[in-house]
């Protein structure tokens, strides 16, 4: 099953309430995905600072802080439950090799605007734990997971981020992910789980090097085999795609202030002015995108 949600703000009006809006959406999708939850929230500071989202796993914050300071000079380290956000002017090509080899922590995402938090447990507990209500931003994507093809772990939770400021959430399952993973590994992509969605995220990141998001997803219609509704996020916005059979639901509500998407309308019922929104289902096999 799984529930997916997303909000893209067209105006500044709701930037401060973005976290609260997304949090309610995630909680109402708990019935579709009670195993784990996660969210990516974009808040573009127009400076040169990179943010690295890290899950500490079983490592203590104090130990991590001590260890990481030996390796990198970060400007700040912000703790949020069992995740930390490292902020640094140092570029990903310097930092990523350090974080990737740093057991037992896991890097869940990085970029100039993205922050990712994900954990096993009920969505209502996960959003509380990370204080999602207090976040502000320009757009955000979330996921509630009912695990099918891989274990209930942090690594198996969505969103998946496999490139700078990129992320993907997925409702459905892919049938050709093993083959695709092998191909992508050969061309240099790295994967941290056996999850099918991570492969789709890797596929998108790889393709984004050559073409834009819309063209990437259109190409994905031929290369990704299975059932899916995807929301793919970048620093500037997000795109939505359903496979051509369209068994996996999605509904979009658009007002002058925001675009919201979710698996079911009930996740959006609390959004401001939603009863006057333009509400429609994304058509199968067609890429919808919003962004600046």
């Amino acid at each position: 099953m799984c529930g997916i949600v997303g909000i893209y703000l067209k105006s500044k009006k709701f930037e401060k309430s973005l976290g609260r809006m997304l949090s309610k959406m995630l909680v109402s999708m708990e019935s579709r995905g009670p195993d784990s939850a996660g969210f990516a929230i974009y808040n573009s500071d127009k400076n040169k600072i990179y943010k690295y989202s890290v899950c500490l796993n079983e490592m203590s914050f104090e130990k991590f802080k001590k260890e990481i300071k030996k390796k990198v000079k970060f400007t700040t380290i912000e703790k949020n439950s069992d995740h930390v956000i490292l902020k640094s002017i140092e570029k990903p090509n310097e930092i990523l090799p350090i974080l990737e080899g740093f057991s037992p922590i896991s890097l869940v995402g990085y970029g100039k605007s993205i922050e990712i938090f994900k954990q096993v447990g009920k969505p209502s507990n996960v959003v509380k734990k990370f204080n999602l209500d207090n976040f502000s931003g320009t757009h955000a994507i979330g996921h509630t997971r009912m695990a099918t093809e891989s274990a209930i772990t942090t690594d198996g939770s969505h969103p998946y981020s496999t490139g700078e400021d990129e992320c993907l959430v997925h409702n459905g399952s892919l049938s050709n992910h093993n083959n695709l993973r092998r191909k992508l590994k050969k061309s240099g992509s790295k994967f941290s789980s056996d999850n099918d969605t991570e492969v789709a995220a890797g596929y998108i990141s790889d393709s984004l090097k050559k073409r834009n998001l819309k063209k990437t997803l259109n190409k994905g219609l031929n290369d990704l085999d299975g059932f899916y509704t995807f929301i793919a996020g970048t620093h500037s916005g997000f795109a939505v795609l359903r496979d051509e059979i369209a068994c996996k639901p999605a509904v979009i509500a658009e007002t002058k202030d925001y675009v919201a998407i979710s698996s079911e309308f009930q996740a959006m019922a609390h959004l401001p002015n939603v009863n006057n929104a333009k509400i429609f289902e994304p058509e199968p096999g067609i890429v919808y995108s919003w962004g600046k």
Binding site: A246, P249, E264, F265, A267, M268, H270, I279, F280
Partner: protein
């Protein structure tokens, strides 16, 4: 009588509507703040009027018998699924599988219906004023599907004896579905159906599609294939 789903539990609202006391003679209900809840008005059996003010979730008015249900908003997957009798009128759009497996009654959708509208329908009349998505009337057995807009891919795939009327374009026909002659009998029937939905479009503007009856009838020439 107004039933506010912000104050009342969905289960208690459905129980109330499913257990109408005939002596009290209350036959008019309004449900407010549906907020996308699932299975609203499922399993009603009495001849009552219910208006739902807002958008609803999945399986709204499922298994309906006798009740007259109006949804002033959009509906999720499977509206009026397995309806036996009565009438369901959706003023907005419907998601996939509208009227699935329904045996009778009338389903009117003012907007568009998504994919698989009327899948395996068994006697219901469905009138969609907008368009329908792919695989509509898949394995449909009897009843009528009227589409005033366009139809998506594979219309009427593996069709049995449902009549399909489409005014606009049909993207493609499914296996064993073909265009049929529109006789006087069909025009009269279609006119009645359109009238039920409050539409005055002329039946002459529609094309009729039905089963070529090659798939579900055994053909002796194919005996070696089995």
């Amino acid at each position: 009588m107004i039933l506010d789903l912000k104050k009342l539990k969905l289960r208690s609202v459905n129980e109330k509507l499913q257990n109408i006391d005939r002596k009290k003679n209350k036959r008019d209900f309004v449900i407010s703040n549906p907020e996308g809840n699932h299975a609203i008005c499922a399993g009603l059996t009495e001849n009552i009027d219910v208006t739902i003010k807002g958008h609803v979730g999945y399986y709204c008015a499922g298994m309906n018998q006798n009740a007259n249900i109006i949804v002033d908003g959009n509906v999720g997957t499977g509206v009026a699924e397995n309806m036996m009798s009565g009438k369901v009128h959706v003023k907005g759009n419907a998601s996939q599988s509208a009227g699935a497996t329904a045996h009778g009654g009338t389903l009117i959708i003012d907007g568009d219906a998504s994919s698989r509208c009327g899948i395996s329908m068994k006697g219901i009349d469905i009138i969609v004023k907008g368009s329908v998505g792919h695989m509509s009337a898949f394995m449909a057995q009897s009843g009528s599907l009227v589409v005033c807009g366009d139809a998506g891919e594979a219309l009427g795939d593996s069709l049995y004896e449902t009549d399909i009327y489409v005014k606009g374009k049909v993207k493609s026909l499914g296996a064993d579905c073909e265009e049929k002659k529109m006789s006087k009998k069909h025009k009269t029937k279609l006119k009645d159906l359109l009238k039920k939905a409050g539409s005055n479009i002329k039946p002459e503007q529609f094309k009729r599609y039905g089963s070529a009856r090659k798939l579900y009838n055994f053909n002796i020439d194919n005996v070696s294939n089995y």
